[in-house]
Amino acid sequence: MNTQNKPKLKVAIYWGAACGGCCVSVLDVHEKVLDIVKAVDFVFWPIALDIKYKDVDAMPDKSIDVCLYNGAIRNSENEHIAKVLRKKSKVLVAYGSCAHLGGIPGLANLTTKEEIFRRAYEESESTVNPDKIRPTTETKMPEGTLTLPHMYNDVKTLAQTVQVDYFIPGCPPQTERLVEVLMLIIEGKPLPPAGSVVGALEKTLCDTCPRTKSDKKLVKEFKRPWQVLDDGITCLLEQGIICMGPSTRGGCGARCISGNYPCRGCYGPPTDSPDPGAAMMSAIGSMMDVEKDEDIKKIVEQVVDPAGTFYRFSVPGSILRRALK
C-alpha cells in the first residue's frame, strides 16, 4: 500500500458510558496496527494517549477525519464530548453496542437514577452509609469548587444525542471488520451511504451459524444454559436454550456460538427489523410447541426476565426506549 505521500488520516477514539472493551478491541488488530499507524494519526484516544479535553477544544472544526465514539450517553460529560467530537469530526462512527443501541449501560433504562442511587449508596449488602450520604456533583474545597459530571435518569444512544454517520455494532465489534472499514477510508474507496450499519451483515446470525438446524424448530421448554448438556452440534434454540440468533445481525463470526454459548444479541437487529426484542418474541412465539393456555403460561414463565434477555444490549435503541417509572 502506497501511503507515503498522502497526508495521514486523523482518527479520534473516545469512550462514553462504556467498559473500555471497545477501546481495547481496536488494539486487537495486532500487527495490522503497524499498517494502520503508517496511514493514521491518533489525535485523541484517552485509553492510550495523554491528550486533554482542552487540546480537543483547540482543534479546528472538521479537522478529525474519523471519530470512533464508543459507549452510551449516560452523563453530562458523555453528552458534552459527543457534541464536541461531532463538531470536530468529518465522520462520526457509533462504535460498539453501547453507542449503537445503548448496550449494557442501557439496561439502566429498566429502572431509574433514584433507584440505582438508593441501591448503590444505601441498600447494597456491602454498603455502610448510616447518614445516607449521596455523591454530589460539586464539592467546595479551600482551593476552589470541584465538580463532577452529573448522571442522567435516561441512558441514550449516540444517535439520539448527535447526528451519526455510521454504526459499527458489537460488544465489542469484530476487530477485523474495523480494519476493513478503516482500510476503505484510507484507500479512498467509495463509502456506504450515511446512516448505514457497517462492518456487519444484512442477515441474521442464524444465517451464518455453524450449528445444525432442523426445518421445524420446536421447543417444549426453555432452560438455562447450565441445565443442558449441550451436544455441541444442534441449534441451541432447539435444545431449549434462548439464543438471540434469529433476531440478531450476523457479522460477529458466531464467536459466542463457537464457544458453545448462546447469542445474546450484541450486534443488534438485522436491517429490516425495527426492534430486536420484538423480532425475538415473534421468533420464539413460533417455536413454542404448546397450545393450551396453561402450558403457554408455563413455558413463558421459563423465560426469565424477558426485557433483559431480549433487549440486553438495546433498551435505549428499542421502540419503547425505557420503562415507565
Binding site: 427489523s273 426492534d275 420484538a278 403457554i296 424477558p306 426485557a307 421502540i319 419503547l320
Partner: protein, 142 residues
C-alpha cells in the same frame, strides 16, 4: 380524568374477528367509538413490533383478536398470536405498561356482540387508567 377518551388500536384477523366486528356494525350494536380497527390476514401475522409501534404512536390500549382456538383459517396462526401475547405481556409489565392496556381475545365471525362487549370492556378499563405515558416518554429520546 372522567372525560378522557382513550385511543384503542385493535388488530383483527380477516377471517373471523374482522367479520365479527362487521357483524356488530350491520347488527347496529352500539359500542364505544374509541377503537381504531386494523385488519390483518391472520392474528399470527401480528408482529410484536406492531403492538409496540401502536403504543409508541400514542395508543392508550391495544386489542388483538383472532379466530377461536382450532378455527384458524391458516391452521395455527392464532396459537402463535397467543404465545406472542403472553411473552409480550411479561415484557410490557417490565416496561411499566399496565396489564389492562393490552388484551387478546377470540371473536368469531358470528360474535358481533362479543366484539362490542370486548371494545366496551377494554375502553372502560383504559379510560379508568388514563392516558398511556409511554409515547411522551419515548419522545424524550429524539
Amino acid at each position: 380524568m372522567s372525560n378522557f377518551e382513550p385511543t384503542i388500536v385493535a388488530f383483527l384477523c380477516n377471517w373471523c374477528s374482522y367479520t365479527g366486528a362487521d357483524l356488530a356494525g350491520t347488527s347496529r350494536l352500539k359500542y364505544r367509538p374509541n377503537v381504531r380497527v386494523i385488519r390483518i390476514m391472520c392474528s399470527g401475522r401480528i408482529e410484536p413490533a406492531f403492538v409496540l409501534k401502536a403504543f409508541q404512536e400514542g395508543a392508550d390500549g391495544v386489542i388483538i383478536c383472532g379466530c377461536h382456538p382450532g378455527d384458524c383459517h391458516y391452521h395455527s396462526g392464532n396459537y402463535k398470536a397467543l404465545r406472542r401475547y403472553y411473552l409480550m405481556k411479561e415484557y410490557l409489565k417490565q416496561m411499566g405498561i399496565e396489564e389492562d392496556r393490552f388484551k387478546l381475545d377470540w371473536v368469531s365471525a358470528s360474535e358481533g356482540h362479543r366484539f362490542a362487549e370486548l371494545v366496551n370492556e377494554v375502553t372502560g378499563k383504559v379510560a379508568a387508567l388514563g392516558p398511556c405515558k409511554i409515547s411522551s416518554n419515548i419522545a424524550r429520546f429524539t
